[in-house]
Amino acid sequence: MTEKQLSATEQLMEQEADSLARAAIGAPKQPRSSLGRRVRSTVSAYGFLLPAIALVITFFIIPGILLIILSFTNLSSANFTEPWEFIGFANFERLFTDPFFPKILRNTVFYVFTTLIFFNLGLALVLALVTTNIPRRRGFFFRLVWLLPRLTPSVVYILMWKRIGSADPFGIYNQFMPEVLGASGGNLFLGGAPWAFVILTNGFVGASFGMIIFTSALMSIPEDLITAAKVDGASTWRIIRDIKLPLIKWPLLFIATYQTLSLLTSFEYILLLTEGGPGLFTTEVWALTAYKRAFSSYFGNSQWAFGATWAIVLVAVALVMAVLYVKIFKFNELVEEPRIENL
């Protein structure tokens, strides 16, 4: 929207708020002094905004500021009873010099992009394309099935995966098809293939979001366009490549951006499945480190301030990523209004 349109919209909203307020108090519609009118309309406009503003301030702005302050202190459960102090950038230094920092960073990048590309985008797209190409009801059924993991409580969902990957004789995989991957009979998520399990558990849930968005985008492509492409000689693959994918470009970029950020901060399945193991930091990702430092240390010491530092740096990274996505994908161009000329 241009500035001009924005200010026009503002004006409209102001008028609307004003007339709403009049209606609310049963005031007659009559001309007033412009000052009184302005004050009234401003007050009522902010009145309507107040609940939302209060929520955002209480649950987003204040915790955010507290977290930033926290990251510059030494607050932990060890010194909880003593007065804590500001220690400058010491936490940040400690973070970047942590011997496992490179490994956690590599893990995070690997986890985020593998899950994103193969599941949250790839599988989601395949599911959307397949379920929109089969009879409507069947497609709906399969999408519903794919939504089930998302509807299942995390703990129950992970317990089911654990049951699949458990060691002989309990694990479903080891019982029924050990020859497929040539497994040792041992625990898979802590032994044989921890990353596969981490990515599968996250990907199966993650794919359903993209699937829903892509499905609705694909279904909104006019049938005539597909007919036209068929008549023009395009194969199914060419129709997908030349027509469908370009037309769902916006949802694709949106899901890529949204899911990158969401994967960066997700850790609960990993926590429940491997706790970052097996061994030292094998499947540990950034968000999990932040959680562990702050709330669950081996030595019983919750380093709240150090955990906050990990979280703050992660938010900074996410912000940079978001800006990059917006720039690279030219989001502002996508929402640009078309210029329609008439003869």
Binding site: P222, D224, L225, T227, A228, A229, K230, V231, D232, G233, A234, S235, R238, D242, I243, P246, L247, K249, P338, R339, I340, E341, N342, L343
Partner: protein
């Protein structure tokens, strides 16, 4: 390309879209599928295009059955009501798409696209995006895309319905001229009988998935074989009322209540030969006149009517009148200054009167 449809049918879960359509289209002929929405005309077209798989019957192109041939291998071009242009491509991208799929070399693509675009009068718009074009320009791009691969059969699915009235008139002539010049066989789906009448060599009138009539436009107008065709072809539509045919003093008359009209002998004899107690009589609004010097009142061809509605059409007025309880539409010169509430005398020109069997709705005059 010669096209033959034999008993072509399409049904989904018991819903019949097209029911045993049989017709043939000669090479280079322009055929219109005419009918109201849901009559099966687009269904039939999409079967010819290969988008829908027929439930029964055959489609033959030049004598070869093409039921199982994919759309891309049928040598067809198609133009849609919605234009169906690829919004993410430029004009050039759209027109060149069929050629790019055929992997035609780049210089040839450029040449052929430019040639078609020039022919369509959009040669200078090739770099434009689709959203930057007007509706008329978009339809030209769509036509260009259909023509660029030099199809043997052109399919039109209500291509002009989204254009404004004036543009529709121009495009009508243009499409017809192009089709004639290039000699491409064409099927043109429309619900607009004026489009069908003006453009088509032959018209297939459809209703409820059934082919009602397939004939040249003038025959459809003058010799309608069913009541549906009589009512659908011609604007404003034909008036229908139940009558009895009575022979009196060597003269045939159509009677019903206060209606009493003398009939021309040839038509009346055929109608009487049907041996029905009652028939449906059809008279076109343009065959009824207000009584004046040019059309004097005469016994056996004049009725008194009350004017209920006057719709000025510019050159003439369309009157809604009642003769007793029978409603009729009458097209009269507006200079006669008819007004609502007036009682007027109407003269009926019975020389092109139609008669239909009330049960079968088939014409008793033409078979």
């Amino acid at each position: 390309m010669r096209v033959e449809l034999e008993n072509l049918s399409k049904a989904w879960d018991g819903v019949v879209g097209a029911d045993r359509i049989t017709l043939d289209i000669a090479d280079g002929e322009f055929v219109a599928f005419l009918g109201p929405s849901g009559c099966g005309k687009t269904t039939t077209l999409l079967m010819v295009a290969g988008i829908y798989k027929p439930s029964g019957g055959t489609i033959k192109f030049d004598g070869h059955v093409v039921n199982e041939v994919a759309p891309k291998d049928r040598g067809i071009g198609m133009v849609f009501q919605s234009y169906a242009l690829y919004p993410h491509m430029t004009v050039f991208g759209n027109i060149s798409y069929p050629l790019r799929i055929q992997k035609v070399n780049k210089t040839e693509i450029k040449e052929r696209v430019q040639k078609v675009a020039d022919m369509m009068g959009i040669g200078d718009l090739l770099d434009r995006k689709i959203v930057q074009l007007s509706g008329g320009q978009q339809q030209r791009v769509s036509l260009g895309r259909a023509l660029v691969k030099e199809p043997q059969l052109l399919l039109f699915d209500e291509p002009l319905s989204n254009l404004d009235a004036r543009l529709r008139l121009t495009m009508r002539g243009e499409i017809k001229r192009l089709q004639e010049e290039m000699g491409i066989t064409a099927i043109y789906v429309t619900h607009d009988q004026v489009e069908a009448m003006t453009m088509a060599d032959r018209i297939a009138v459809m209703s409820g998935g059934v082919l009602q009539a397939y004939d040249v436009p003038t025959d459809l107008y003058e010799h309608p074989k069913t009541q549906f065709v009589a009512g659908f072809v011609g604007n404003p539509p034909m008036n229908f009322f139940d009558v009895e045919i009575v022979a009196m003093d060597g003269e045939f008359r159509a009677k019903s209540g206060s209606i009493d009209l003398a009939l021309p002998r040839d038509r009346a004899e055929k109608a009487a030969a049907a041996g029905k107690d009652k028939l449906i009589m059809g008279v076109r609004p343009e065959d009824i006149y207000l009584v004046d010097d040019a059309e004097p009142a005469a016994p056996g061809r004049t009725l008194t009517a009350a004017i209920e509605v006057v719709e000025p059409l510019g050159r003439e007025d369309l009157l809604g009148v009642t003769v007793n309880d029978v409603e009729m539409r009458v097209l009269v010169d507006k200079t006669k200054g008819a007004a609502v509430g007036d009682n007027v005398d109407l003269v009926f020109d019975m020389s092109s009167v139609q008669f239909f069997d009330p049960e079968t709705e088939q014409s008793v005059l033409w078979t």
